[in-house]
Symmetry: C2
Subunit: 366 residues, 2 copies
Amino acid sequence: MTYPRYTPLIENLPSSVPFVGPESQERERKFLFEARLGANENMFGPSPKALSALKKYSDEQWMYGDPTSFELRCALAKKHKVSSDNIVVGEGIDGLLGYLVRLLISVGDNVVTSDGAYPTFNYHVTGFGGNLHKVPYSEDHEDIDSLIKQAQLVDAKLIYFANPDNPMGTHVSGIKICQALEDLPKGCLFILDEAYSEFAPASSLPDIEISDTRVIRLRTFSKAYGMAGARVGYGMAEESLIKSFEKIRNHFGMSRISQVGALAAIEDYDFISDVINKVKLSRNRISDIANDNNCKFIPSFTNFVAIDCLKDSKFAKKVLENLINKGVFVRMPYSYPQNRCIRVTVGLDKDIDLFEKYFPIALKES
Amino acid sequence: MTYPRYTPLIENLPSSVPFVGPESQERERKFLFEARLGANENMFGPSPKALSALKKYSDEQWMYGDPTSFELRCALAKKHKVSSDNIVVGEGIDGLLGYLVRLLISVGDNVVTSDGAYPTFNYHVTGFGGNLHKVPYSEDHEDIDSLIKQAQLVDAKLIYFANPDNPMGTHVSGIKICQALEDLPKGCLFILDEAYSEFAPASSLPDIEISDTRVIRLRTFSKAYGMAGARVGYGMAEESLIKSFEKIRNHFGMSRISQVGALAAIEDYDFISDVINKVKLSRNRISDIANDNNCKFIPSFTNFVAIDCLKDSKFAKKVLENLINKGVFVRMPYSYPQNRCIRVTVGLDKDIDLFEKYFPIALKES
């Protein structure tokens, strides 16, 4: 009998998983969630145009998708006023982050992120043997100046920065980002994860030339576009960086129906602005519920709200557990001091009704 | 201005792409193909049950798919009489091959495959810095004994073997595979790509215990199940190898609709056996057309037929080009001596009618 010989890197990796999905939690707890408010999914769903494209073209599923996602890239290029050569489409931002880390990080290379920021990015960095340097949040904001200072100190090849931020929902202005980038050390690529940017004011978008080799921006159809299940993310950057993805990506990784759905969704501007309004209303409602229960909400520019339960992480964890046991799936930040909060995704009225009903009880029982 | 610092491995990788999709060829040539007979897609399409599940659940697309593909893995486990812990689901066999290579291959590690076998596997091996050792085909069959001998010589960590084979469509018996595996060197994992196995006789399936750590078997919904566009592949192996994928895979890489579609498709046994019959009839028709044009067909156990044009690769290439220029998309093997052939995918009658019409002309003009 033989055995597989894993690489030394793989041998030493933990078997940990960045996120346990709600379905796994349901199976473990042997009941179904009544409200799914933990994964920052968008309950308002995709544009009807996307849905009808999905249905219309589902018969074409016998064909592989176009490995270049050409039409989708062209539509995105038009939307963002760049060339299709500036755009790479991939299996969600998660997939693109994996490729990006693989392009740049060998064993021992340094990477800078915020302590408590997106765990899937950390998962990929660890997975390729990179050294993660974590910088604390500053007043519930990712601290861009400190991130860049840390990158200078350790000669980092990558910085991860989300704007707006997840899990706190805060944002910084585009002008602030541009100023901070002036101090970006040479040879460091700045990953700007804009997954939630559609929910934020336009002023949070930095004015960065697409030819600027310091930055790659990541976007997704999972949030404002309500298509998390389709797995469509994209990156925008200077041409040669985009081209480098061709060396390693799974060229046939994209579902054909997802490509078609995303293409139809882009064009439905009215629907998206309606969704953004609905998200704002629901966000306000969650914020009000926080206030009504003598908690504090962190002003959010995303489709979720971090609620400060005004005690320690142990207490927040208990509130979370109580909510989950009552059928309301929510999540919470991983790191101190953000882990004094729980994070509640925007939802339909019926979902928020349940949260409104159970939150006071969950607090009382904690 | 900074610049990204790629890893040394990435710097040295070619920007080549394993397959140019038919859509790119159409854009380049400025016309649409009338028959799509080049990518071994299945024109008989998915089960109506899969299609109706797709349509029924398309509204659920706002949710991420279950990152564990639990229900799908359970259904596959039941079908194959193994445990769900023996199954990993991924973004097509292509995606799984990428993960598998990453698990085992560091720069300089040795890998054995057949000269002219699946280029996407080679792409991944090169992409992780592995050394590829290519063994010639023997009489249009992948030569399993020579592959294993070569693995012994170079202390390979991986062997790739497809049964039935692509691009020639030949197969070996399961008994032969089991015998050959007796000589597999220690520390070498045998990848058995069974993408086309549903089209082959049951005797081509080796009787290998799922606890056997020497082998991983790969299957797909892209061929017999007619769902290439959905990107659903799976691997079956001993538990600890399957578990190792958790360390590196894109946990949220699967489209939710694809998961649902695959689940519905598995259960439609009648539809699949009907498709397999239709494929056999169309394969026979392509074989007859080869004979009628004084060419030779290679007896196929897949959904395609390699046609020996009985001249050299230059001639076959011309025939291929002529067919493509007439709107019939076909492909051909990459390596000598298989590249004396063109490869024609099984299709609907209307597709094969076009091939029948244009093949004699393409031959004459070559």
